[in-house]
Symmetry: C2
């Protein structure tokens, strides 16, 4: 079991006693500050119960939830650094939510903050660098929490990226299988072709490609636990001769391949490395090769939520389609197909959240209540962010510019 980074970070900042006593804040001051803050944030329909018995209700409309604030320090943190303050206050139990967490975050995301407020609340943030060493640290922090932990709430194939629900009624398990197949179809795989996967998670896609499409796969990942799991799976299924799992950075990819695929890695790459990633793809893809990048994205450039970036995805950054062009344009790749599966990720995250809640007692045994609260918040926030379109999910299919061996239409994807 790896050290729990989420826990460590939170503890270091929020778990002490407040440094100044809440009773020193005169009545009315806290409520007035909170009202001004809420107004700057676009008046989300939320009520607040403060430690001193004061209550702040929305200026209009029914509240979707009530936040109970334990002390003045928690309120100050919330007002001065809303994203961190809410996340850390919630994890510490100094902010309790009476109502649905997803609905609460949806209401916050849907409010339209004043432009100055957005600038102020995002000041002074520096992302962690995704250098070779930095990436290992960043990835380790999230993906090496233990395969047993993820097994509690992911689908049976352990796919930790957006699923593809043929219909909204499909199960998560079926939707992840459908996603693997959707990706394989988009890559137009043929038997005995070679594929390289950058960032392979627990290996579900690589194994599926070898199993159902007869291709040979080299799959890269720097998460120790994920690679170990993937190798075990390959051995168990007798696929070890067709799928090679390499514990290494995508920057170490060598050789040429008929297909390049990366599902859920680009979020961890960082825009400053996109040209490098493009160069790696350009040297790895055969003349008639196909490529697919599946990534969380944005409509407009924006930093990740500060709490998510600090405690859940250090170094994470979801790009816009425009920012992604730094991968493609310099190397004359043709974008052939872009599909936005935003609503599928809302549903995926909601399904994860429901499974996580079912398993929360087991999670609490392995970790503790603060860990449970952190992951509940992360999965709730993810659900809300895709629901409110703060986040997108792009599947981008591309090929070399001069490759005319490309599908005539997309009808074959839907046969």
């Amino acid at each position: 079991m790896q050290p729990n980074v989420v826990l460590d970070h939170s503890k270091s900042e929020g778990a002490q006693a407040p440094s100044w006593p809440s009773r020193a804040v005169p009545r009315g001051i806290a409520a007035r500050a909170l009202r001004s803050f809420l107004h700057a944030m676009g008046d989300p329909p939320i009520s607040f119960d403060l430690w001193n018995g004061e209550r702040v209700v929305p200026s209009a409309g029914r509240p979707v939830a009530t936040l109970k604030i334990a002390d003045a320090r928690t309120l100050a943190h919330l007002i001065l650094r809303p994203e961190l303050g809410f996340g850390e206050g919630y994890v510490d139990g100094r902010i309790e939510v009476d109502g649905e967490l997803v609905d609460l975050i949806t209401a916050i995301d849907q409010a339209q903050p004043a432009p100055w407020a957005q600038r102020v609340f995002n000041r002074g943030r520096k992302p962690r660098r995704n250098s070779l060493v930095g990436s290992r640290h960043n990835i380790h922090a999230h993906y090496d929490l233990g395969n047993d932990f993820y097994r509690l709430w992911l689908d049976p194939h352990m796919v930790y990226t957006c699923a593809y629900y043929p219909t909204p009624a499909a199960s998560l398990a079926d939707a992840q299988v459908a996603k693997l197949e959707h990706v394989c179809r988009k890559l137009a795989l043929r038997p005995n072709e070679s594929v390289v996967e950058a960032g392979c998670g627990w290996g579900a896609l690589s194994l599926d490609m070898a199993r159902h499409h007869g291709v040979r796969v080299r799959a890269f990942n720097i998460s120790t636990e994920q690679i170990a799991y993937a190798r075990e799976q390959a051995a168990r299924e007798g696929l070890a001769d067709r799928v090679e799992f390499v514990e290494d950075d995508y920057r170490s990819i060598g050789g040429t391949y008929d297909a390049f695929v990366s599902v859920g890695m680009l979020e961890h790459v960082g825009t400053e490395h996109y040209a490098e990633l493009g160069r790696i793809i350009a040297r790895s893809l055969a003349a008639h090769g196909r490529g697919l990048i599946h990534t969380i994205g944005r409509n407009r450039p924006a930093r990740l939520n500060a709490w998510i970036e600090k405690h859940i995805f250090p170094g994470g950054y979801p790009p816009t389609l425009g920012e992604m062009q730094a991968i493609f344009e310099p190397f004359d790749f043709s974008i052939l197909d872009v599909e936005n599966l935003r609503l599928h990720y809302e549903k995926t995250a909601a399904d994860w959240l429901a499974a996580f809640e079912k398993a929360r007692d087991e999670v609490a045994q392995r970790f503790d209540q603060r860990f449970v609260r952190a992951w509940r918040l992360y999965l709730s926030g993810t659900t809300a962010a895709f629901r409110t379109s703060l986040l997108q999910l792009f599947q981008v299919v591309f090929a070399r510019g001069r490759n005319n061996h490309i599908p005539w239409t997309r009808a074959y994807l839907y046969e």
Copy 2:
């Protein structure tokens, strides 16, 4: 009949006698200069017969065509301004091509010029501005050549944009009908919805939407002849109460609509106006509205071929997907779907070219041989540019970021 801009431009520059006599160029000099030039251009497999009997053959491989150069001035123009020099020399008959024009241009497009050569040959070019007045002039020059002219070689619905061939064996007429339907499906039109079309050509899409999907349409175009034709069609079909053709610039669009569509206009807008276009769409699209932009594009930013820009599409510029984000990102539009139909445009242009060649005697009677040569070159160059991936065809579907009434999957497009 409108004045023929193509003809006028060409005449003003290339039709005089050469200003210095070809016989003054010593033997060997011209051939040597040409060889150096061809090497800088990446050694395309082309032979040359010069006016003085000298012959230049490719350094390697079989030539795809032979260019007969009539005089030294034509060669100098070709070497100093390759795109203009070739186009104007060909139109003037001072360059004759022995071989297939499409194959010749394909070979030129596929050659890899030295980086310095690309810089040198694109120096000093200024695009014409697409201001309100400039746009009228630029559009008038191309689209008001007379509906009778376009009727000679377009499909029966007069659709002058990339078709959608369900299979490569489909006819142009069927493929244009399929394209109209493909666009309508992507827009998920419902009866009695309202649609605004920016740049409607001869009205085929607007009429099709009203006819088959029961929507009301306002369609904008600044080409006088096209609007007149479109109105006639609407009246003839009894659709004048459902389709309003407005002879005005897209910047005059008012009102709100359930769908925004623009097919083949963005090429004429110019990147400096993309934010303005985005603002117009943002104010015109209903909360649950869908948008589609169909445009010629690029893998990498590049100016239009100099001859095409000067003589065929003044002010034209095909953008990259990255450049197109200036329309979408500032207004929080979500890109839902991008399809690249490059090979369909190669086939469309080839079908146009074949129909044009069948009608060339009639075209020559209306205009003259120089006009025939100019349009043959333009349609051949277009075919080659899509074949070699110098040009792309993007269909981009988008919606407001916060609109969750979007299709669940794309399967409905292929039912």
